[in-house]
C-alpha cells in the first residue's frame, strides 16, 4: 500500500511540477492531465470511488479540454501578453513564498498530533446512494445555490466571450 501511495504521489507531484515550469502551454496541459489522473488515483486509493470518477469526468473531460480550447484560441500570445505575473518580474519572491509555505506545512504537520492517525476502515457500499440522498436533504440549500451559480457562470461566460458587434 505504501508503494502504491508513493508511486501515485510521485506521479502527482511530478505532474504538478511540470505543469508550473514547462514553457510550452500544451505540454503544461498534458502535465496537468497527469496531475489530475494522479489525484483521481488517490481518490480511488482513499475509497472515494465516486469522487475519483467525478474528478476524471470533470477535470480531465471538461476542464482540460476547455483549457486546450483556450490555448488554441490564443495561441499567438504564449509570451507576455494576456496578464502579467501577479508579482511582476519577481519570480524568486513567488518561489520563496511557496517554499516557505511548503516547509512550514511540513513542520506543522509533523508537530500536529494527527500525523500518525490511521484510517478506521471506511465503507464503500452505498456511498453514491447516500450522496444522492444527502444532496436533496441536508445539503439541498448549497445544491440550489450551485444551480444558480452554474446558470450565472454560463450566462457570464457567454456574454464575456461573445464578440461585440461593431458600431450599431
Amino acid at each position: 500500500m505504501t508503494i502504491v501511495f508513493l508511486t501515485l504521489s510521485a506521479i502527482t507531484v511530478l505532474g504538478a511540477l511540470l505543469a508550473v515550469t514547462l514553457r510550452n502551454l500544451v505540454h503544461c496541459l498534458l502535465a496537468l492531465v497527469l496531475f489530475f489522473m494522479g489525484i483521481a488515483g488517490h481518490f480511488f486509493l482513499l475509497k472515494a470511488d465516486f469522487l475519483g470518477a467525478v474528478q476524471i469526468l470533470i477535470y480531465i473531460g471538461a476542464v482540460a479540454v476547455l483549457i486546450l480550447f483556450a490555448i488554441m484560441l490564443t495561441r499567438n500570445i504564449s509570451g507576455t501578453e494576456g496578464g502579467r505575473g501577479s508579482l511582476g518580474g519577481a519570480w524568486w519572491l513567488g518561489v520563496g513564498i511557496a517554499t516557505t509555505l511548503a516547509g512550514a506545512m511540513c513542520v506543522f504537520v509533523r508537530r500536529s498530533d494527527l500525523v500518525s492517525k490511521l484510517p478506521y476502515g471506511a465503507t464503500e457500499e452505498g456511498v453514491v446512494k447516500e450522496i444522492g440522498k444527502l444532496l436533496v436533504t441536508d445539503w439541498v440549500v448549497p445544491l440550489e445555490i450551485m444551480a444558480v451559480l452554474l446558470t450565472a457562470a454560463l450566462i457570464g461566460a457567454v456574454v464575456i466571450a461573445l464578440e461585440e458587434e461593431k458600431k450599431r
Binding site: 500500500m1 482513499l46 483549457i67 490564443t74 496578464g83 454560463l154
Partner: protein, 103 residues
C-alpha cells in the same frame, strides 16, 4: 494497510505550494489558471483525506469535495472566457492602430 495521515497532509501541502508558486510566477494567464487548478485540487484532496482518515462517519468531506470540483469547473469556464476576451482585445487594438496609421 494504509500510510499514516501525515504523509497525505504533506502531499497536500506540497501540491498547494507548487500551485501557489506557479500562480505567483507564471506570466501567461492560462498558465496561472492551471496553477490555480492545482491549488484547488490540493485542497480537494485534503477534504477526501480527512474524510477517509478522521470523519468517515458522515459524508461531509466528500460532499465538500464534490461541490468544490463543481465550483472550480464553473470558475475556470468564466476565467477562460475572460482570457479569450482580453486576447481578442489586444489583437483588435493592434489591428485598429495599424489601420489608423495607414490613414
Amino acid at each position: 494497510m494504509s500510510v499514516p495521515l501525515g504523509y497525505y497532509l504533506i502531499l497536500g501541502g506540497v501540491l498547494f505550494a507548487i500551485g501557489l508558486c506557479g500562480a505567483l510566477t507564471r506570466k501567461n494567464a492560462i498558465a496561472v489558471l492551471m496553477s490555480i487548478e492545482i491549488m484547488f485540487n490540493a485542497a480537494i484532496l485534503n477534504f477526501v483525506v480527512f474524510w477517509y482518515y478522521l470523519h468517515n462517519g458522515a459524508l461531509t468531506g466528500q460532499m465538500f469535495a464534490l461541490f468544490a470540483i463543481a465550483v472550480a469547473a464553473a470558475e475556470s469556464a468564466v476565467g477562460l472566457a475572460l482570457v479569450i476576451s482580453v486576447y481578442r482585445h489586444y489583437k483588435s487594438v493592434d489591428v485598429n492602430e495599424m489601420r489608423s496609421l495607414k490613414g
